[in-house]
Symmetry: C2
Subunit: 206 residues, 2 copies
DNA sequence: CCATTTGCCTAAATGGTTTAGGCAAACGGG
DNA sequence: CCCGTTTGCCTAAACCATTTAGGCAAATGG
């Protein structure tokens, strides 16, 4: 039962005094998010995160409850980052400008951080979702729609249309669904933003 | 080394002559699809499928190459079923009718077969995707758009808009994203189909 | 300077995946 | 009808990720 001693000896021979890795839920979440961007969100494992800190797997369990807990934390981080980015994008803009900037914020984030973007689609239980940045996303969309003067319940319909359209397009693009058609995805994106702007303006007048 | 004998004895005592389970890639795929609808696509494991046939896990490996292979087969099955359903829905319809029927086919399939619908978003490698029913989905969308007389490249833009909008809406709805707003999802869906129809008609004229 | 807390450890159980090798049932030609 | 081959499912065992339990030592603070 002198395994600890043997370990310490080796450790001290090889790396000097045993250094603490400085783990915390935040640091692990950040590392998990980076891992997700590199290998995909589904491929995030506590084992790989531990490897990156050169630490034993069990050590992570003092900071996160489970593998699922780690994934939820990554999702919450991504939702917050994405809401911050969208919020900054629409600041000082209105109408078509705001819509285009908002759309670009989402698409840009998904391109730069594919794993984090995948994480935003993790199914959260209702309480967690309500306490997350998810409601901010809906609020930001409503802020854009203020420029179009839609009455309820049409404003809610429009929130759902925009959320679905942007999210769905990004997902189909990421899945490689556009690879076999020689039409520039950027051109489609611009056309779609344009068309949705026209749609909303038409709906406002009735 | 007489484990086989021991096993056979038990088997014969308990269940008579050793019956073959009648496994095949098709049967396993079907069972996997049903499992997906019950517990979610990510929760599909070869272990659970084996349990359902009362068969040892290793036995499945004569029929499917790996756990991933099973998942790909489920995805291909779902893509085919969904394309069949969409195809039937738009037969004999045009314009707004076709669009609404197409949309309803997707949403209905996702509601009735949530796990299979999740499977349709599995990332397939390009060759597999090209040989799947995925191209049929794009063709079906183009069939609907014939009624709107859009020139290229706008027709391609519209294919991407419709694919993204329907898919994104279904995903957001399934994720519970609409739970905290007291607006009927069906009403939003109808409004969205209506709006997209108007959008396409407007784009056709210019 | 000692007591407590904190951080990471070893050890071991659980469970899904996968390969290797084997027996026996089914099948088809002589 | 019998025997060789194929097919179907088996046992056994390795691998890897997850998770819990329990322990030592560094850091912390009175």
């Amino acid at each position: 039962m002198d395994n600890h001693r043997a370990y310490d000896t080796i450790k001290e021979q090889e790396a000097g005094p045993v250094a603490r890795a400085g783990l915390s839920a935040e640091v692990l979440t950040k590392a998990g998010a980076e891992l997700a961007d590199e290998v995909g969100f589904e491929q995030v494992t506590v084992t790989e995160v531990a490897r990156r800190f050169d630490v034993k797997v069990a050590s992570l369990y003092s900071h996160v409850k489970s593998s699922q807990d780690l994934k939820v934390r990554i999702a919450l981080l991504a939702l917050t980052e994405l809401a911050d980015r969208a919020s900054e994008a629409i600041a000082g803009r209105a109408g078509r400008d705001a819509l285009a900037a908002f759309a670009e914020a989402y698409r840009g984030y998904a391109r730069e951080h594919p794993g984090r973007y995948q994480a935003t689609r993790l199914r959260l239980d209702p309480e967690t979702a309500a306490a997350s940045a998810a409601p901010r996303h809906a609020q930001l969309t409503r802020a854009i729609l203020r420029g179009y003067h839609l009455p309820e319940p049409e404003q809610t319909h429009a929130v759902r249309l925009l959320g679905g359209a942007f999210h769905g397009y990004i997902e189909l693009e990421a899945a490689g669904g556009f690879a076999h058609t020689p039409v520039d995805p950027q051109a489609s994106w611009d056309w779609i933003v344009d068309s949705l702007d026209a749609l909303l303006r038409a709906r406002a007048e009735h």
